[in-house]
């Protein structure tokens, strides 16, 4: 199968990102064609893409025709809080034949709970790192136990160093800066074309 894994890949992203990388390796070793797509420009991922706002929903729709299955890591930055963004994501997820959610920790806010219930109807399976997270999700009523797979903690973990801190701190790019850069580059490109002419 051709499988798309969406989520922050390491070095940033902590244990959840390492688990995502480990999962990509497992799937590749099982003979699948695996592509990782990260929203963080510092990730050692196959692809990178902006996923804020409506972009996540649009990306999911775009890739649905190009992949057989999706694993989506649920991250706090994903645009699931606003109703229209969540609706776009849910409609896009319905285009996929097989959708697995990766959830690293129980989400606590009410909006997230609502998002989880909505997502619960669209996904085939949920992968979590511990039984505690599985129990919390079941208690929320978003997923039944039969669809939850407990993975355990990721075995991969690089030793901490000054460099690992530099590679993993914060998140890049912040949305506003990326938009500024895109606008700046477009203006620059037009000026260069005008000068050339």
């Amino acid at each position: 199968m051709k499988i798309l894994l969406i989520g922050t890949a390491p070095p940033p992203g902590g244990q959840g990102a390492l688990a995502l990388a480990q999962r990509a390796e497992e799937l590749a070793e099982a003979g699948h064609e695996v592509v990782t797509l990260s929203p963080d420009l510092r990730s050692a991922s196959d692809r990178q893409a902006r996923l804020e706002g409506v972009l996540l929903g649009l990306s999911l729709s775009y890739y649905a025709r190009r992949f057989d299955a999706l694993e989506l890591r649920l991250e706090s930055e994903l645009p699931l809080t606003r109703a229209h963004e969540r609706l776009l994501v849910l409609r896009a997820l319905r285009r996929w034949r097989e959708v697995t959610l990766r959830i690293d920790e129980p989400l606590s806010s009410q909006v997230s709970a609502r998002a989880l219930i909505d997502l619960g109807a669209a996904v085939t399976a949920v992968r979590v790192p511990s039984t505690a997270v599985a129990d919390a999700l079941i208690a929320r009523g978003a997923f039944d136990a039969g669809r939850i797979v407990v993975e355990g903690p990721p075995p991969l973990a690089p030793p901490q160093s000054l460099l690992s801190a530099v590679l993993a701190a914060g998140r890049y790019p912040p949305a506003r800066r990326a938009l500024f850069v895109l606008a700046y580059e477009r203006i620059r490109h037009r000026i260069a074309l005008a000068v050339k002419r």
């Binding site: 390796e25 692809r47 902006r50 690992s164 990326a178």
Partner: protein
């Protein structure tokens, strides 16, 4: 050290490119060092990408595991693309010497090319290796590779005095590695000057070049239809290697006191030769590696216009062919080699280059003496037998503190 001396080590050389067609000083040193240490009986792997070009990073070699000259080669596909505009914007800011935030520096390093499967391999398999050697400093393979296995990492930075060397992410990379290998003392001094908190395990191991069995200067001249005596430039035709400055300075030479020497250039990249120099500059493109030693032997001198050298293999190759080297004084490392060896002279600008070339033409005996001193210098310090032993000794010391 005595406990580990004689032990067979498991070594991984992590380099952005590997292959016969790959041009690059650091890549050549890594490949040859790997083979030299394999010859000493160590288990050596080269971990690299499938790319041949350091511009496109297209995957031109197949991915997988191969054996080449006693060394296990593991090739992983390189990935490019993503936020190209953001990365191009960051690249321009780095080149202008602007200070980027650490987040931006990392995004820039990661945006040029990356090798996700190599990163995972290092995370999973680092414990298998006694040491992992990364080079050169500016590439994803070194920055991300060191972060995946800092306790096993020896970085051979091949450092130049340039804006890239002052990036915070480079300081963090060299500071987080467990060991450093330098190719020359000026390179080590530069690192100590601009990067605080370097690891204690540091060695100036140097690098080496293969000693050719023979040279064929007459055959080289005949094959390439070179009828006049010439000076040689060998290297990438890039501004970072002093290409443009060389052409300007050679133009000055011809205008002020033409010594009757042509300039022959060999190497990769696109040579843009000004029309006024067209009859006196002969570009031979990328030479067959077997033909290159004879190019050095056929030249009256090697011109080294690059200030960005951490070792300068071409200087050593010219010396071995008994050919003197005339180098820009701005290149501290080559100037250091020339001072130690007495195998050449330095110049400041086109006028001084003109004076040096005039000396060369007027006093062939003195020029031959320079060449002889150069060859003796390389044979004393920079053969693979000597350098591999220095690397091995450093590795035994490195691993003995980590057992």
């Amino acid at each position: 050290v005595s406990e580990t001396a004689g032990r067979k080590l498991r070594l991984g050389f992590v380099t952005p490119r590997y292959g016969e067609e790959v041009v690059g000083g650091s890549e050549s040193v890594m490949a040859e060092a790997a083979r030299a240490l394999a010859l000493k009986g160590h288990g050596v792997e080269i971990l690299t990408t499938c790319a041949r070009s350091h511009v496109s990073w297209d995957n031109e070699y197949p991915a997988g595991t191969f054996v080449d000259e006693g060394v296990l080669i593991r090739r992983f596909p390189a990935v490019t693309g993503g936020a190209r505009l953001v990365v191009a914007h960051l690249e321009r800011r780095v080149q202008r010497g602007e200070q980027l935030e650490p987040l931006e520096e990392v995004a820039w390093v990661n945006g040029r090319f990356r090798v996700p499967k190599l990163y995972i391999h290092l995370l999973r398999e680092a414990a298998f290796y006694d040491a992992l050697i990364f080079s050169p400093y500016l590439f994803w393979t070194t920055v991300y590779g060191t972060s995946a296995a800092p306790t096993k990492a020896i970085v051979m930075p091949c450092l130049h005095d340039e804006s890239y060397a002052r990036l915070a992410v480079i300081a963090a990379t060299l500071g987080s590695a467990s060991g450093l290998w330098f190719l020359s003392e000026p390179e080590q001094a530069l690192a100590r000057q601009i990067i605080p908190g370097l690891p204690e395990h540091q060695d100036v191991v140097g690098a080496a070049v293969e000693v050719p069995d023979s040279y064929d200067p007459d055959g080289f001249r005949a094959r390439h239809k070179l009828t006049k005596p010439f000076v040689l430039y060998a290297g990438r035709r890039e501004e970072g290697k002093g290409w443009g400055t060389l052409l300007n300075d050679f133009g000055t030479v011809l205008r002020t006191d033409d010594p009757g020497l042509d300039l022959v250039t060999v190497g990769s990249g696109v040579p843009r030769i000004p029309p006024e120099l067209a009859g006196r500059v002969h570009d031979l493109g990328f030479l067959d590696p077997e033909d290159l030693p004879s190019a050095f032997a056929a030249a009256s001198a090697l011109i080294q216009p690059s200030a960005n050298e951490s070792f300068s293999r071409t200087t050593m190759e010219a010396f071995l062919a008994r050919t003197p080297v005339i180098a820009t004084v701005a290149g501290e490392v080559v100037a250091w080699h020339l001072r130690r060896s007495g195998g050449g002279e330095t110049y400041v600008d086109g006028h001084e280059l003109s004076v040096q070339l005039r000396h060369l033409v007027d006093d062939w005996a003195a020029a031959a003496a320079l060449g002889e001193r150069g060859r003796a210098y390389v044979l004393e310090h920079y053969t693979w037998d000597r350098v591999a032993s220095a690397m091995e000794e450093s590795l035994f010391a490195f691993t003995s503190t980590r057992r």
